[in-house]
């Protein structure tokens, strides 16, 4: 009986996910890096052809400004936006549009409702980003020729979906508490963006005392990676890129740019990090899992307590 009830909730929610205008957002954002890569190729601009899929996923900035532009449009970069769009009204739309009161009085109950909605959202995000990753892998092969480990794209896409679930759940909690999907969307987006900005800014102030020093930048980058790993909503969407560096670059982070360093002795433009992806992977994984569970529990409690 419970399985039947949850199946009803799953179908109800998946239908909502598929019919939301947000699906257009996913299609557009998946197409953007593909179009950008095709355009670069057509214009004869150099892109990292062997790892074009990773650039299009947003994991790797490749070589040169053109690659950087494609990477800026990469899937990992906009996952948070899809998450807040889908999360903001996860519970709020039902509270507003009458679905909740029809479901909460049925045998599936509030527990089944909360569980079913979250499972459906997780499944949708995983499938959507897996498909986006697969589309990127195919497009990268067609545009850039044979790819290095492009099989990882759909798998890491699935992980992006799972990693961004907690951002969706954060937006959902805001939306449910205010009974307003738009507030959920805005607050979810604001908290996600401001948290990332706050980490960068705070560490910049504390660590980058000497912005012309290579060592300062190394410490800044390493602490940013560690701090982001400790904050679930930042760790989740970044986790797939950590795995990418672990697998593709033999457990090293690619050297990162030094924006203000102009040292004639070293003539350095990039800095290599001393921490490795394998060292931070447990932190990112634990943070993502813990954050997802805590936010899922919050949503569950809200669904149990809210009055229709």
């Amino acid at each position: 009986m419970i399985e039947g009830g949850i199946r009803g909730i799953l179908l109800y929610e998946l239908k909502r996910d598929l019919r939301k205008k947000g699906i257009v957002l996913i299609l557009v954002f998946t197409a953007l890096p593909v179009i950008a890569a095709i355009a670069m190729k057509a214009l004869g601009v150099a892109v990292d052809e062997e790892r074009l899929w990773a650039v299009m996923m947003g994991f790797d900035i490749g070589a040169g400004a053109a690659s950087g532009l494609v990477a800026g449009l990469g899937i990992a970069g906009w996952a948070w936006l899809v998450a807040v769009v889908y999360g903001g009204d996860l519970l709020a739309s039902d509270l507003r549009e009458g679905g909740y009161r029809l479901i909460a009085v049925r045998p599936v109950g509030r527990r089944g409702y909360a569980a079913g909605k979250m499972i459906a959202l997780a499944a949708f995000l995983v499938v959507a980003f897996t498909a986006a990753g697969a589309a990127v892998a195919v497009a990268a092969t067609l545009v850039g020729g044979p790819q290095s480990k492009a099989w990882m794209a759909p798998l890491l896409g699935a992980l992006i979906g799972l990693g961004s679930l907690q951002i969706a759940l954060l937006a959902s909690a805001f939306g449910a508490l205010t009974r307003n999907p738009m507030t959920g969307f805005i607050l979810g987006a604001a908290v996600t963006l401001l948290t990332g900005a706050a980490v960068g800014l705070a560490l910049g102030v504390v660590v980058l005392r000497d912005p012309f020093s290579v060592e300062s930048w190394r410490r800044y980058y390493e602490l940013t990676i560690l701090a982001s790993g400790a904050i679930p909503i930042l760790a989740g969407p970044t986790l797939p890129s950590i795995i990418y560096y672990l697998v593709e670059f033999d457990n090293t982070f690619i050297p990162l740019p030094l924006p203000l360093v102009d040292d004639p002795e070293t003539a350095a433009s990039l800095v290599e990090l001393s921490i490795t992806p394998a060292e931070v992977l447990p932190l990112y994984a634990a943070s993502t899992i813990a954050g997802t569970l805590v936010l899922a529990y919050m949503n569950y409690r809200i669904a149990l307590r809210v009055e229709a």
Partner: protein, 305 residues
Amino acid sequence: MALAEVRELSKRYGRRTAVQGVDFDVEEGSIVALLGPNGAGKTTTIKCLLGLARPDSGVVRVLGVEVKGQLPRDVAAKVGYVPETPEAPPWLTPCELLEYLAMMEGVSSFEARVLARKALALMGAEDLCGKRLGSLSKGERKRVLVAQAFLQPRSLYVMDEPLAGLDAEWVAETRRLIVSAARGEGAGVLVSSHLLREVEDLADSVVVLRQRLLYRGPLEGLLEALSRSNRVVVETPQAKEAVVALRERGFRAEMIGGRSVAVYNSTVEDVVDALRGRVRIDGVRVEKPSLEEAYLALVRGEGLD
């Protein structure tokens, strides 16, 4: 047997009292009308009964089981609910909504599809099956919401203003469904309305609310009490002053137009006596209010004698 029991139910929203000390039962095979003006606490009472809202105090039982936070699973399958406002998930079609709701009641997807179409047919909504709920009119959505309560036979139907927003044809059909559920299947039906005339030929008993319980008992009792009501209408250019003067003396008085004051359940002599020397009286007459007017007087706080 009481299918629904409400005892000393009280609920506040912040500082506002929604309902206080409300008591009533819904028995097998009976239709109970929950009457009251807008804001009287009818919807709050229904939500507490269904576990959609938590009472601050009091006890609510459905099919003999106390409702704490939500309807117990085995009870929920036996309760049909029609919400007050015609809001429904706009991204679904009526067929999808009813099918998924039926699945949430534990039936197979095949059976759910059959039940959904049968229920929609009860309200003549088969032709709406494939249209998005968001594109339907309020009346059409209300028909769908009435239909979903009848997905399966129930022991108890709780309907919050089920006739509001329906056109005459579907008001009649919904009434027929309500009567058939109670008289034919022996279900208990609680149906709320803010209009007496909507339920006067439907209900067996009536619960009249205005935050507190104003009347509870057989419909005939209410109608008889209301039919005994009279009102003395005073014509005066000082209507406001007259209302103040009458209320100071304990009369139930209200302005009806700029130059008239209605005084309920009193005599011409008493009213004239109370106004003598206070306001100019141009004329006095005794009126027999209609049942609806008497009911409105009751729920506005004038009460029954």
